[in-house]
Symmetry: C2
Subunit: 366 residues, 2 copies
């Protein structure tokens, strides 16, 4: 596949995303083209899984290109997105003599991207950073500039809006992904179709098999499209004041399910798959065409993603997890509702009772 280049348009903070098979092979020249001169000190932040599979090659390539390369290897998993690990990364940055001209490189999935991005935003009040995403889900997290770590009491609540210099997205690195992370990441790809483009949604439907089997051509297309939708939305609303909320299709219920299941039980993609089916069902109740629900549900099933809520989870718990999300007011809540395939609206007065009915139906497995 040819490399595809997408520009995220954010004025002087604009940056390119390079997507393609083996794009990391030219990582050195890509950095140089973005003004990161050979000789610059880099700190690669990654996790143990990714390090075992891909770190040596990237370190070798950057070394050959004349960069000074340090590494920080974190434990895999959401718990790594913490201030404690951030402090540890900054310690490594200091020990290896990184200064204001140095560059952080996030080599990993969304956990590493969010963590390393916030470390870069904070180190000496901000140094440059580069995203080298290694998961499918990271097509979502690497675009948009939201970086953060978690607080023990809430996810992503300590962070910044901070844009990378470049995103280098090598589809070949995805070949080592565990199948569950493949499916989970594809849920966000499909979401980008459902909120923005009916044709791309059909394309996803037709190409589900190729995507699940990691056909690099199909993956490149899908990531390109997913990044493009996200980039368009973000360009229009960098600081999340309005439009950007449409990216949360399936997330109100999805987040609640993740919390109630206990983090890690359901992957993020699995949770929002159920969430998107729920939103489609809600749309039906609100009078939008019934095929939104049938198409959405069939699509998720095609991607081998869950579409029902485990009956063991209490509806009250799920509702109160949504309440905690601060999205309720006077029995009404803000909800992203699909109005057709490829279209959604932000509805700020959805009845909580109607949402509860949807939750119960999803538990019934209808």
């Amino acid at each position: 596949m040819e490399t595809k280049i997408l520009n995220v348009d954010l004025g002087e903070r604009s940056y390119p995303i390079h997507i393609g098979e083996d794009v990391t092979a030219s990582i050195g020249s890509l950095l140089a083209d973005r003004g990161i001169k050979p000789g610059t000190s880099l700190l690669i932040v990654t996790d143990r899984n990714v390090a075992a599979l891909h770190l040596d090659r990237i370190v070798g390539l950057l070394g050959q290109a004349g960069y000074k390369v340090g590494t920080y290897i974190a434990e895999p998993g959401e718990a790594t997105k913490s201030l404690a690990v951030l402090q540890d990364i900054i310690g490594t940055a200091l020990d290896t003599g990184l200064d204001r001209n140095s560059v952080f490189i996030a080599l990993g999935g969304g956990v590493i991207g969010d963590l390393c991005g916030f470390a870069a935003a904070s180190y000496m009040r901000g140094v440059r950073f580069v995203q080298v995403p290694t998961t499918i889900l990271a097509h979502d997290s690497s675009v948009g500039g939201k970086v953060a770590v978690n607080h023990p009491k809430a996810k992503n609540v300590i962070g910044a809006f901070y844009q990378p210099e470049i995103v280098i997205y090598d589809t070949k690195l995805l070949l080592t992904l565990p199948p569950r992370d493949v499916r989970s990441g594809l849920a966000e790809v499909v979401k980008h179709g459902l909120i923005w483009d009916e044709d791309f949604t059909s394309w996803c439907n037709e190409n589900a098999g190729r995507l699940l089997s990691l056909d690099l051509e199909a993956l490149g297309e899908a990531l390109y499209f997913g990044c493009k939708v996200k980039a368009q939305v973000v360009s229009e609303d960098e600081k999340e004041n309005g439009l950007r909320a449409i990216l949360n299709l399936g997330h109100t219920l999805g987040h609640a399910l993740e919390a109630v299941a206990g983090y890690g039980e359901l992957t993020h993609g699995e949770a929002i798959s159920i969430g998107m089916v729920g939103a489609a069902r809600l749309a039906g109740k609100m009078g939008y065409p019934g095929d939104i629900h049938t198409v959405t549900k069939a699509l998720m099933e095609k991607f081998q993603l869950p579409v029902v809520i485990d009956a063991a989870y209490s509806t009250d718990d799920i509702m109160s997890a949504m309440q905690h999300d601060k999205k309720f007011r006077d029995g009404k809540m803000v909800y992203i509702v699909p109005t057709a395939i490829g279209k959604v609206k932000i509805d700020s007065s959805v009845s909580a009772d109607m949402v509860r009915a949807v939750v119960d139906e999803l538990k019934g497995g209808e």
Copy 2:
């Protein structure tokens, strides 16, 4: 004294500084004028010393003005500027239900301003904040938007550039300051004269007695001028790419002395007092007029600030602390050198040997 209002000109991030006796009495309407509507949730971050003296009154005033007020009381001292305390503040913010529309209020000296400012910059990726400085030194820290916490290995190395909505600087709150903090803060006031304005330097010399005895009229003048110089420099160089370095007069040596003495032994103002005398002495060696040194030294003595280095500190340690500061290269270093009273230049090739000679002379107490 009449309230003085100064505008810090930073495009859409511009903000006003209100300086005067009892300006906090109208804190509610000042907030409302800046678009912070009554009903908004506020979190006041302060330290135990300041809380004991001033917190109840401020909470009362804000409550009367219709705000929802939470408080976080930290331990006094530099150790409070840590990620651990930041995490604790964020926990309180979550517990009290602060959302993206809420406002953090820094009530305290530079420690609280830096800490609370970074908490505000990071909480939910950035909420508004307000500075209510309670030390003289905070005229420096509350202007310019540098916020940060410390890493165990280095000061101020985790932070952001983040501007407040307004600075409310009530000279009356300064009446409770311990004398050593008064003198220390005045060292930075005098520095702003030495780098920028000969007339103001003379004014400081003539009014040292009034300032040391906390005459509110004189204090208001001094803080206004100090903030004005800082604001002008910062407006021209928000992200510290060039000019802003002149604010570091006395700081290269000053920081080294703080480190070698052990933090807390010398206050920051005491350390930079010696640093400014050192810079003046260096200027003499470099051929600039000798009165720079005599005037600077006399001025510091008038403010009861130290002008010599304790002979117990090793010159080697001091030199290597400066080296650690990354300001050396090939026996040369960047130094802010006074070229006249009220004028400095950034000299990037000062000989390290000459600096060493100055350190030795300062230890001799000449």
